[in-house]
Symmetry: C2
Subunit: 253 residues, 2 copies
DNA sequence: GCAACTTTGTGCACGCGTTCACGAGCGGCT
DNA sequence: AGCCGCTCGTGAACGCGTGCACAAAGTTGC
């Protein structure tokens, strides 16, 4: 456990609950699998759409179909967070939506700080999808003197060196790093020093962080390379298929 | 299998290789786990950095440490693609790098089309990290008349209706969707009709696609919500921990 | 009030991915 | 040349996540 597992896409080992609460008053969720958490967010979004459409109740089959998952998986996911569906009917959209929001910690607005106002950072700063979903970007940072001092969407860009001060002041809980790769670790260190315990990293580096800090990595180049692999594999398969038809064994050209 | 599995983060079932080549001339990779492919891309990047630094050989332990993974996992990952390390020494950086590039299909440049030139789309279009890594964005699309006709980074923005024509003309193999949610399925359908078989979807919807088409989903809001969950869990744990210290059992306030 | 249908919640088995541990092979040293 | 130490490659066990299938429970219709 010396190097950070750096949970990007796939799973962290588990969510080992440390606190040893004996009886426990509330039916607090015990240990929710990481994969489940990711899906809960999807369920939540779809429930929101259903609520807007005025739908009152929804069955696990219906919701699962919309979310593109197995219905049994959905029910199990919801059972992890102690959901109370109504047998013979389904789930009440409103209460379930509220429950998931609570579980995901969306009842309190989470201030987000963004470090690195380059191409991607600028887009993230202006992206409406965050503020609208309870994640207002309240702090922007960069090192470029041309950027420090300007405002984006009404938010002033501060210098990176002020991260600890500003983040504490604005009660930032989540940091996003969209700097070039070489600057990412430095930005990360400053965020950690500011007390930020969750970081979304867009830079193509593996961040070194203390154990308590949670890092998720989004790497667009990697995503493309995965797709590229599939393209290559497909081409290969096609060619092999053709050869198999022609000759019945792969022959070196 | 009626609804699309929509492999975003975590895994697709497998990569069932259809072709039944008896003996097989080349040591073609059999069935590479999806998770492994994602890591191969990371290894590749780190190998590139090592090559720039002039490093000649690297052991699995060293490379694994840099990539933030277990060394055994790294060796197994490389064995999936039939890598030839040197026992007692390690891996030769140059050859391995070339081999991985070949495996991931990066030897041929893959044209990328981007649909939706909003906030995020604009950033993706201007993001240098793609072209520099063998994924030149060669086509841009939107429906907004104010955007159609302008150039971004030298690429003309075409109307979405021209997707099939333009994509075939420019031999696009990968499509990226950065439209608002309601427009995503339509954009996807057009890309599929254009013969694009791999799609990177940034819109928060589950795309319906034919079986042969590979979709990966990147959902920034979901990423933040996952982090938010961890924040909430941590706060909860802290409070429980405090209560446990104070009282030794959770008491309703 | 009872029976039949619907839908949730979950125990269980299967399969994939990860991890450990060890044998196999290669280079360097004497 | 032979031995020693190092590192790759991989067989096997473990653990997690997924999917099936069924019992429990609630609702509707008669």
């Amino acid at each position: 456990m010396t190097s950070a597992p750096q949970a990007g896409p796939e799973g962290t080992p588990a969510l080992g609950e440390a606190a040893a609460t004996g009886t426990g008053g509330a039916p607090a969720a015990r240990a929710v699998p990481e994969a489940t958490v990711a899906r809960l967010a999807v369920y939540l979004r779809m429930l929101g759409e259903l609520a807007e459409q005025g739908t009152d109740t929804v069955s696990s089959d219906e919701l699962a179909a919309v979310c593109g998952v197995n219905s049994a998986k959905l029910r199990k996911d919801l059972s992890y967070v102690g959901s109370h569906g109504i047998r013979g009917v389904g789930y009440e959209v409103g209460p379930l939506l509220h429950h998931l929001e609570s579980t995901l910690g969306l009842t309190h607005r989470q201030s987000v700080a963004l470090v690195g106002i380059g191409n991607l950072g600028h887009a993230l700063a202006g992206y409406g999808g965050f503020g609208g979903r309870g994640f207002p970007v309240t702090a922007l940072f960069d090192v470029d003197p041309d950027l420090v001092g300007i405002k984006i969407n009404g938010i002033l860009v501060d210098h990176v060196r002020d991260i600890p001060h500003v983040c504490r002041e604005r009660d930032v809980t989540i940091g996003m790093i969209a700097t070039p790769a070489p600057a990412a670790q430095g930005a990360c260190d400053l965020l950690v020093r500011a007390g930020v315990s969750c970081i979304l990293n867009f830079a193509p580096v593996v961040l070194q962080v203390p154990e308590q800090v949670e890092v998720r990595k989004v790497d667009l180049a990697v995503e493309l390379q995965i797709l590229s692999f599939h393209v290559a594999r497909r081409h290969l398969a096609e060619r092999e298929g053709l050869d198999a038809v022609n000759g019945h064994a792969v022959v070196r050209s």
